[in-house]
Symmetry: C2
Subunit: 245 residues, 2 copies
């Protein structure tokens, strides 16, 4: 059996000294790997430099930082060998910095647009992200406000089934402070959109002090399991996959 | 002898799952603490949850995350007891997120401003950061671009001498890919502005594979020492301070 696990949170560079980071200790991904390791398995484990990781010679670690690097690494791995299952628990940045403008540069550009005396459309906004000066290695702090324009990253999870339609894909959906109904509903939609076979739905407000509430949902949208700790979630996911495989 | 050391990099929350993080392993701060520990010293050590730290019962750890928390912690400590020296090696965020707008909300607000048919001024930009809807716990990814408006953080280092004029303050200046001349010049200016007694000037491009070039500059603006590794920089700083104290 060969499985691919992603864990931790990606970081998107703003400049050479700052990043936008998605929080994730990687603990859950690490527990999922450990639950698999009691069986005959080889694991490819994609994670970041600072994340918790399982220690075993049956685990091949692949380090990434940003979303593009994650996409490239997954593509390489998925093209090299078939996986029985892919568990994509990594918290991936939805946006990556495209351009930063000082308050002064922002006003200058906006006022150039205004001078045309037409309402702005989405296309006009490309003017804001155009390159003007040389690329800055470290953004100067010499302005009262900084305008950071971020663009959407490609949905990494959606390439998994495109490259390996036969693998069993487990996705994750994390929301913050919503009802169970909304959480499960949004998770079901993400499952369909990402062609996942299962999705683990969880809410940040129910993750603290060792507690971690998760709902495990299958392709039909049915909640097939509930757990209240990271250990129990890991067991639930791995047991379900082993029963299926 | 009692010294206060800050080390690591601050994180500014964008929402409940994302932050802007200043990179810093905290290694240099940790080595400075260790160099002090061979002498009779008590150290207050302000750092973040994920940063390397010295292990000794003569080191009191104070954990912070964001710039405001850092400012509050330093104020408390500096009001409680006198320090012989303060070594402020932490990489502090210059900006903190004030508001995030989807592309759609950004266009709506900008077009309201444009309708007045006057060029925008800095004051107009407050409209962009006004609260409209309820605060979002997790920014929706349902937009092509995200506009993140960041405001300047207060200069934490500048409160140190205000609270303790008699302490010896060591600041740090990190630039990226500039000439030695420019680096030293900018570091000298920061020293004066921050009322520091010494500043360690370094360039990110000369920090790699165990190498770390640093210039140690005194109040008069003279380079009083050069070092090419973190260990040597730590020794240089601590020796200079011990000779002065």
């Amino acid at each position: 059996m060969r499985v691919l696990i992603t864990a931790g949170g990606t970081s998107e560079k703003i400049d050479d000294v700052r990043s936008i980071t998605n929080h994730s200790t990687g603990k859950l991904g690490s527990l999922i790997a450990e639950a698999f390791l009691t069986h005959d398995v080889t694991i490819d484990y994609v994670t970041t430099a600072t994340t918790l990781r399982p220690a075993s010679d049956k685990v091949n670690i692949h380090e990434i930082a940003g979303t593009q690097e994650l996409a490239d690494t997954l593509q390489n791995l998925l093209q090299q060998q078939p996986y029985d299952a892919v568990i994509h628990s990594m918290a991936v940045s939805d946006f990556t910095p495209e351009k930063s403008l000082s308050q002064e540069d922002f006003l200058t550009k906006i006022n150039q647009l205004i001078a045309r005396q037409q309402p702005l459309t989405a296309e006009d906004l490309t003017v804001l992200t155009e390159d003007t000066a040389a690329k800055e290695n470290k953004i100067s702090s010499n302005t009262d406000h900084l305008f950071l324009i971020l663009k959407k990253t490609p949905k990494v999870i959606q390439q998994i089934k495109q490259l390996q339609p036969a693998t069993i894909l487990v996705g994750f959906k994390l929301l913050v402070d919503v009802s169970k109904e909304e959480l499960v509903d949004v998770a079901r939609h993400s499952l369909i959109k990402n062609q996942a076979d299962y999705v683990l739905a969880n809410d940040l407000t129910s993750i603290h002090h060792g507690q971690h509430v998760g709902y495990f949902i299958n392709k039909e949208g049915t909640i097939i399991g509930e757990a209240t700790s990271k250990e129990a979630i890991a067991q639930l996911i791995v047991k379900t996959l082993l029963d299926t495989l």
